[in-house]
Symmetry: C2
Subunit: 309 residues, 2 copies
């Protein structure tokens, strides 16, 4: 039996998994992401954790097929990162550096949202398809495109950056990316809260509550008119954006994940409605699914990159 590691680097923790070559997860754990001093400790910490796990499980280098690794920044297929918002890294050759730290073990890097999309295709909400678009609705909006079983990386590693597609030409507020009118400003948890706060109606379900994305969807489920309006607005922006994505890559299915997707069927329904309303004939009636792997999508996707390279 051979083995591989799946690694998902986040701004706070690095999630790690040890897998068999048949895709079975044997062990998972986390280490802290040490971002101080331009994140210089992150890759050495990962290398040390991998070696410690190999010692614990009595594995030798020849038994390890490789390491797949998702990270929160655009990264090219060669493992070049230009800049990261959360890790402290500027320009960094992640594949070369980590392979050196691991005495030549093979490392395959990917953008975290793209890698999570691959994981969901393999073992989650996108099972049974080989071309999907995944969108992750959390504090921000991440995206990943999988075509014929492979991540669409793009030439600068920015493939699948769906959260920063422009969906509103008239927006005046600035997105975290510096532009205006990005999907993230309406479809993230933060975006939903901002839309809901714009004009809370007297007597609305939200009037006496902390306004959260969950509260907005809960209100809509109870039939509150104002919350339903906010959900429609959310669904229209996301449905149109996914329709635009489909006009470019024509996937088999969409998978929606992240904290906001806990709203469930009501969210799928409203997105699907606006998706179909805005799509040309050949693109109507795609499948929409909720993500299933939660925080494990990254380590599964990372390992899949290694197993099906």
């Amino acid at each position: 039996m051979k083995y591989c590691f799946g690694i998902d680097i986040g701004g706070t923790t690095v999630k790690m998994g040890l897998f068999q070559e048949d895709g079975e997860l044997l062990d998972k754990w986390e280490i802290k992401t040490r971002t101080e001093n331009q994140g210089e400790a992150i890759l050495p910490d990962i290398a040390q954790a991998v070696k410690a796990k190999m010692a614990e499980k009595k594995l030798v280098k020849e038994q390890i097929i490789g390491l797949g690794m998702g990270l929160p920044a655009p990264v090219t297929e060669d493992g070049i990162v230009q800049n990261t918002a959360n890790l402290g890294w500027g320009y960094k050759e992640v594949t070369r550096e980590l392979e050196e730290l691991l005495d030549g073990m093979k490392v395959i890097p990917g953008n975290d949202a793209n890698v999570a999309a691959l994981g969901e295709m393999w073992k989650g909400g996108g099972r049974g398809y080989d071309s999907i678009v995944m969108v992750t609705l959390g504090t921000g909006v991440g995206g990943g495109v999988i075509l014929q079983g492979k991540i669409l990386t793009g030439c600068k590693g920015a493939g699948g950056e769906i959260g920063h597609m422009k969906v509103n030409m008239d927006e005046t507020r600035v997105c975290g990316c510096g532009n205006k009118g990005c999907l993230e400003q309406y479809a993230s948890a933060t975006g939903i809260v901002n839309m809901a706060k714009e004009n809370v109606l007297e007597g609305s379900y939200l009037a006496d509550k902390k306004v959260t994305a969950k509260a907005v969807f809960d209100g809509a489920k109870e039939g509150d008119t104002y919350c339903m309006k906010v959900v429609e607005k959310f669904g229209r922006y996301l449905g149109v954006a996914l329709s635009n994505v489909a006009h470019v890559v024509d996937p088999e299915a969409f998978v929606i994940g992240g904290g906001v997707s806990a709203a469930g069927q009501i969210l799928l329904d409203v997105v699907e409605k606006y998706y179909n309303e805005n799509s040309m004939f050949a693109l109507k009636n795609k499948s929409f699914h909720l993500a299933e792997l939660g925080n494990d999508a990254g380590i599964y996707g990372a390992v899949r990159m290694v197993l099906f390279k």
Copy 2:
């Protein structure tokens, strides 16, 4: 030496080319597209023309690597067409039918805009790149996405249908596709004329002329304020749309073709300006080029599909 045929089926004529296996065009000609009776004669006419050319050039079946064929509808990699606006076809298995008519010669089909994009990458404005997005600005707006030298076909053959991405959520006029606010409504020749006619100013360059896309760009080149405003509006819609495409597929370069692109540098400049204004950091500063092959892009792309399959 071996040979192949490049075929580009349009609503009025079928363009055909005979190529050497090294990509050199030996001969090109056209036949009429007979769309009557659900277009039943189109494929037999093509087969007959191919056989006649082989007889003329004294070629036998064993010397023909295959036929590449672009057609004006979404088509899957298996050669399934669901419907065509211009050919009279409903559901049709084009690959199977044409291969039978040609006694088993290999046929590779593609959507015409996608095939033209491949041709431009190979021998035209996208030479030197292997991942490009091409947009064709004619009566309508066509698009094609080439990633790592291959057409992005999509699961229903609707990959690269950029003309029907929604760029205006507030549009009330209906596009040819049945939706509202499609890129085609602003970036096609027809769209530019419609925008220009909305509110022609007294004393504008256009006041005493037939309003055409060319006249609008000519006026802008002469510094006419109104024409410049229309060109800015065109550039903003197209620049934002191409930026949105880049957030999905992150290509190396864009190629702009079709009749409208005859406007030249002024068009590239305005599109590039709005592209950069609306793109996230990693996606700024892509190359923009004019298409170079004109009506031959289709036969070149068709042959490239056969040669690099």
